[in-house]
Structures are given as C-alpha cells and as structure tokens.
Amino acid sequence: MTASDYDETMQLLCDRLGSLVSSDTPITPESNLIGQLAIDSIKLLNLIMEIEDTFDISVPINALADVQTVRDLVDLIHKIKSA
C-alpha cells in the first residue's frame, strides 16, 4: 500500500466519522475516538464492520485495545491491508 492509499484511508475515515459525531468537534488524525469524539463502544464496533466491508478485510475487534486516536485506527487498517 502506498502513502496515497494511507491518505485516502485517513480521508475516508474522517468523512465517515464526521457523519457519526453529533458535535462540531473537528476531526483530526489526533482526535481521541472515545474521549473527544464521544464514539461509544457499540458505534465503534459497528464502524469496524463497515470498515471491513469497505476494504474487504477482517479487523478483529480485540485489536482495538491499542486504538485511541483516528490515526491509530488508520494505522491498524493500513497494517491489515498491507499484510
């Protein structure tokens, strides 16, 4: 996967989060999904299902233990896509 793929994934995820988050909080790679964007656990799990379908990959939800920010999530997707 190339750097532009990475940026594309980041853009796609930020757009999707934009429609999930109710407040006007700006979404940046450093935004904390739960703390700042108030994505609750079920919303996050459902978002993972969507991501799996968008990229045709398996994203185990236990891998989310290491995910705090938007960038962490993009890194995880990137790693799985590149494997």
């Binding site: 656990s41 799990l45 993972i48 299902m49 799996e52 379908d53």
Partner: protein, 395 residues
Amino acid sequence: MNLLDKLDAAAAARKALLPNGVGAFGIPIEEVYSATEARIGDRRVLLLGTNNYLGLTFAPECLEAAHEALDEEGTGTTGSRMANGSYFGHRALEKEFAEFYKCDYGMVFTTGYQANLGTISGLAGRGDTVLIDGDSHASIYDGCILSGADIIRFKHNDMADMEKRLRRLGERTQTTLIIAEGIYSMLGDQAPLAEIVELKNKYDCTLLLDEAHSLGVLGETGQGLVEKTGLLKEVDFITGTFSKSLCSIGGYCVSNHPQLDQLRYISHPYIFTASPSPATIASARAALELLRNGTELRKQLWKNAMQLYKHLEETGYKLGPEPGPVIAAIVDSPQQALALWQGLLEHNIYVNLILPPAAPEGKSLVRCSINAAHTTEQMDYVGRAFAKLKPQIFG
C-alpha cells in the same frame, strides 16, 4: 483524569439519562410474593421483568430439594471443585444435563456467565478466531476477550453478512468458533440455526450455541432451539444457565466432544471460583426434571407470550421481529422509554428498561419477560396499560 474521575464522568452520564434519582436499574424489591408478584416500595407489582419463564421459583419440588440439601450438606461448598472436590449433586447434575441433551459430556459452572467465559476461553486461543453475532450477550464478548482469539462480529442474524466474513477468513475458518444464541435476550428473536449450521459445515468451523433464554422455552422437552429445529447433533457445544427457566444459579456446557472434559483442567472460570452451593444444585436438578416434563408449562408460556405480543402489535408498538417470552417495545429515545417504564410502574407493572448502548442499534427498549405462571387476565391488564400509555407518551 484519574481513575476515580473516570467513574464520576460515567455517573454523570447515567444521571443525565435518569434524572430525579429514578431507580430503574437495580430497583429495590422489598418482598417477593410469588413467581408473578412482588412489592416495590409500597406497591404490589406484577413481575414482567424477570427471566422466570416457567414460573418455577416457588415450585414445591424445588423448594423441598433445596431445603433437604441445605440441611444435609450445608450452606456452601467453600471452594472450587478442582481443589476442594465435587459433591454428589454436581456430578449428578452434569450426568443429567448430558443425558437430557443426549450428549456424552456435561459440565456444570458456577454461573451461566462463567459457563460462557470458561467454555469460550477454553476452546479458542491466540491465533484462533471467534465469529460472533453483533447482539451477543456480554458473557460471550468477555469470554472471547479472555480467550485472546481474534474477534469478528457479524450483523445480528444476517447470514449473508456472516458468510461474507467467513469467506474473508480463508483457511482460518478451520480454527474458527462461531457463537450464536437460541433466543436473543434483548429483542427475543431466535437465531437462524439451520443456516448457521449450513455455513458452519461449508466452512468447516466449530459451533457454540448459548441456550440461556431458550432452555425450557423451545422444543418438545425444552432443550431449546436445538430441539425445535432438530439440529442437536450439528451443534458442537451448547451452553446455558440455571438462572432463568431453572430458577437457580449456575451454568452448563454439554457436548459430544471428549475434549470438553479437558476444560476442567485449563479453564480459569471453572477452576478459580467456588462450586455452586448444594441447595442451588439441588433446586436446579429438581427444576430440570420439571422442565423436561413441562409441556403444559410451555403451552401456557407461549399462550401468554402470543397474547401480549398480539395486543401490543395491534396497539401500534414497534416490537422485536418475532413473538416469544421476551417481548421488547422498541422506542426512539431514552426519555420515551423511561416515561413508558415509569408509567407501567404506576400501573403496578414491573418491566426492564434498556437504554443505549445496551440496546441494539442505538434504540431504547422496554422489555417484558413472560412467564408460564402469568394468567390470561394479567396479560390482558398489561396490554391495556401499554395501550393507555401510548397516546400519553407518543402522542
């Protein structure tokens, strides 16, 4: 934010949902009169918020068995079976469960929660995969997390979605444990077991079915969804609980795989906890006997469930997809759910309030559980209370 601040933040979020100290969660029950009635505050209420599906909490056979065990074996076992030994009752109940399911192996756990924790974490491990329904009970999630396996969710009861995820796993399906529930605890709908079995065979996986809410409720002898669908032999592991239709405390797993026995030596939720007390085991054994022969109880339970489901449907409530002993009214906002729950309590009816994120799809639920001991008149009264409240709350 320190550890305690985080709890304060959670408490504030809960208060925002439940103002004025409304005690919808963990409501104090002052006195229990019967399988269907209790006192909450100064109200004598009709109980529709229990999982007492066969209404056996005061069955004389169970009371007598529990009293006798208490007198003969004492109040507790004071330790785990591994270290402190297995009582006659533990071993007998395991045999009776195995025999009930016509399986070779049976295992008893201290709770249903631990049955799932112990079985799932014993079967799957790091490098394996668990494929679970999106609406799975917390004990299934926790068991999966404890296992260290990769956890993949499929959309609730959506078989095309499940197959898509199986396909993505490639050869890893051989080390995949699929987990479903006989009856789902929130919406009361049943798993499409025939299709799950077909996919399990096609992709060469292992299948575990949690019959927590379907034991005693589905099938001629009450085995659950496996019996209703005739698919007992196709399910690798069945787990369940004594805490609902059996009116005791404890959990079980049955299987034809001899490897089940191995869990006794590796499963922490089995080993590192005290075994069920003699009285809980004795009443569960007596209740299992009543459950197996409980055709009449099941008939009454289903009659009650159909009556209330139909009544609420006609009144215009949005309900779970199919009738059954769990009937959930699905409402859009937590405020409406709370108003309905409170309104029912004012009619002396106690039901369960389920708010997000515990309810599926960000909805809120007012969940009723029906019982074989409820009467036709009681079901009618509940239906009329729901009908009266509808225009007041939903306009």
